[in-house]
Amino acid sequence: MIKPLIIGLWTTLRHFFSRSVTLKYPEEKWTPPERFRGRLIHLTNEEGKPLCIACGLCERVCPSSCITIESEKNPDGPGKVVTDYRINFLRCCFCGLCVEVCPKNAIVMGHEYEMASEDRESLTMNLDQLLDKRMKSGNQ
């Protein structure tokens, strides 16, 4: 009866001296894993134009209807060009269905997870905010 009690004390004492697993969050940042589903990113081609062809599949598949696409007819060529692409991140559930459904792989999930904000408007992001200037068309 006494032995298990002492084993218990020994176990907790070992934990007392082991390193803490706490991440001191605001000072230390967390690196998300490769396939982390963070804020959505819009990709561009070499000329800096969005890859999106405004097909509207993502708008349709989105379970929380948070995507709004505005487009116009392509002035120099076939198809349409996207003029505005808004995602309401208050409603987005980061399911990734838009990424899966996109025929041009124009939208991907990024690694940004610090999206707290003090006003609701700033969380509805437009095309400019979603375009990742650093990622030039790369991973298609």
Partner: protein
């Protein structure tokens, strides 16, 4: 005459300031240590290493709304936290910190301690009763039953120490431990005393007064603001007192080589306090009937055995 009284008052104020600071920092120590035991960091936001946390907690409690529920008996409701803090703090009057750092050394200090520390249970009982709430009442009743059950083996275990030192003054008890601590001569008595103090101070695994997953918060359910803080101070002061007493009765008080007496005393006291936290981090709460069985069927016979063996050995040799 007046100078003497003034000096005495200054002494009391200084000693109580030290005690209350220790009590406040015991709460931080508990939270920090529990954090380390659970492989996390504990409070570290307020000040360096969270050192100002007790001050922040105190201020927060000070500015909370002080509520008295309508169905409570107002007089006893207010009296209860006062009793439980005053009872514990008045015990410190006879607790010596070092060879000469004490408020008073009375020849029946042990008896005084036993008597006054038992008064603390009235605070808990009255709090539970006057709240007029079934959870509080349950907490209060349990407290009374537990106190009565564990006071007896506690006192009996202590008699072993009194026989060895043949004095009831704590300074004499400590002085008679020069060379050999009573933990060596009284190992069984020490263990009984330790377990009973855990029950007396309302600590895991015997924290039946509050017992948060059965009784909400036991007798504290209806308390808020400073009244709640008084209970908490009382509780931590009780833990500090218990650590002091274990040190004084069994661990040789301020006796020790090289380091000054005061340093030895506080090292031992904080080691005892650490053990309190360590045991809280380790063991789950035992069942209520097991608690009663442990007291009456295990602790009491063992305490008698310890007393008889000690007495026989003292008489024979």
């Amino acid at each position: 005459m007046i100078v003497d009284i003034l000096l005495q008052i200054i002494k009391i104020i200084v000693i109580f300031a030290v005690i209350l600071t220790c009590v406040a920092y015991l709460t931080l120590m508990e939270r920090k240590c529990l954090g380390f035991f659970q492989v996390r960091l504990g409070p570290n936001r307020v000040g360096p290493w969270g050192l100002f946390q007790p001050i922040a907690d105190g201020l927060k409690l000070f500015f909370k709304e002080d509520m008295i529920v309508l169905h409570a008996n107002k007089f006893y409701f207010i009296l209860a936290p006062v009793i439980s803090l005053v009872a514990v703090l008045s015990c410190f009057a006879v607790v010596p910190f070092a060879g000469n750092a004490y408020i008073i050394d009375i020849p029946v200090a042990v008896l005084y301690l036993m008597a006054i520390s038992s008064v603390g249970v009235y605070g808990v009982l009255l709090a539970g009763w006057s709240s007029n709430n079934k959870y509080s009442a349950m907490g209060g009743y349990r407290a009374t039953a537990q106190m009565i059950s564990y006071e007896i083996p506690l006192a009996l275990a202590l008699v072993g120490v009194l026989i060895l030192s043949s004095s009831m003054s704590i300074v004499d008890i400590v002085n008679s431990q020069k060379g050999m601590w009573y933990i060596v001569k009284q190992p069984l008595g020490f263990i009984i005393f330790l377990i009973c103090t855990f029950a007396e101070t309302n600590r895991c695994p015997f924290d039946f007064y509050e017992c948060e997953n059965e009784l909400v918060a036991g007798y504290q359910t209806e308390y808020s603001s400073m009244k709640f803080a008084l209970f908490y101070m009382g509780e931590y002061a009780h833990i500090f007192l218990a650590s002091c007493l274990i040190t004084l009765y069994y661990l040789g008080g301020w006796n020790g080589p090289v380091l000054p007496a005061l340093v030895w005393f506080f090292l031992k006291v904080f080691f005892c306090a650490f053990c309190f936290i360590w045991i809280r981090a380790t063991y789950p709460r035992i069942r209520y009937d097991q608690l009663m069985n442990l007291s009456w069927k295990v602790m009491l016979p063992l305490a008698f055995l310890n007393l008889i063996v000690t007495a026989v050995i003292i008489v024979m040799f």
